[in-house]
Amino acid sequence: MTDLAEPDSAVVRPSLLELFLAFAHVALSGFGGALPWARRMIVERKRWMTAEEFNEDFALSQFLPGPNVVNFSVVFGARIAGAAGAAVAFVGLMGPPLVIVTILAVLYRHYGDLEALSRILSGIGAAAAGLIVAMTIKMALPLFHRRIGWPAVIAIIAFIGVAIMRWPLPLVLVVLAPFAFALAWFYPAGTVKR
């Protein structure tokens, strides 16, 4: 893995404890997703990675299936200290929020039927849904900005399959991904760079 860590005078190497604390900090400061906080911590404050390296690992984490920031913790941890680094970063990221969310789950089990709590949560649920709508719009803008190409068509088919038809996600993916890959292979001009 030495080929991964390009020596760079501006970049410093964290210890395992520092790695754990950094990811715990990222996890606890991020509401509605933790990736932007990971960038602030790792590139800007700690200088453990250059911005280019971060972008590279970030792209990989987004492209892999599963929770993006979890992937990122594993990719980054492995880059720093192999399997131990990956495990430490992962536990730092997931451990503290899991404790908090478990406490909230216990509270919800006991008080979830209270009229007041149920009203509060229905308000927050409506706002939280709005955040995901906003996220979709921000992501969609570059795709629908210019002439509509195959990426927009693929996105619309994925949307209809999952949201309207309610087909299982594994099925939609197994059918759609090879199509999208073939289109990207033969019509790279239709691709949209992020």
């Binding site: 991020g30 590279e56 993006n68 990719v75 649920g125 949201a163």
Partner: protein
Amino acid sequence: MNDDSPLTALASYFALLSLVAIGGAVAAIPDMHRVAVDTMHWMNDRQFTDSFAIAQLSPGPNVMIVALIGYHVAGLAGASVATAAMCGPTCIVAYFAAHTWNRFRTARWRIALQAALVPVSLGLIGASAFVLARAADKNLAAAAITITTVVVAIFTRISPLWLFAIAGLLGLTGWL
């Protein structure tokens, strides 16, 4: 643990979901809703939207909704099993990819794969937005909160926590 135990169902479902969740945990929410509410009847619509709201309220990765579903189904064991299943397979993939990915920086298949998956994940996240909004917006006032949040989130940099606080207060005082 026998084959029809809820822990087995949680483990096998989330392990599979982990490997198809292109675009992260948010992209997988419609499928979680389909399975947890419609197919397995683990929870009802309101409990699902409540879980999503709680997950967004708590600090940390969006994947925390998986722990809440697991807890609802089988307590602490359920929360641990569901979270481990949702993270485990993809962590192993990520670990090996970390070592090989950069070698293929300019490979045509890698560029094509990345370009192919961007629109797929966009479609899935859009589906998530649709499913969540439809479940949360039971009346006009709730829909107004959703639309206001969209506008504020796109045009300002106000922390989502403020939006949650205002929306929660509106809910509490009986506007919804």
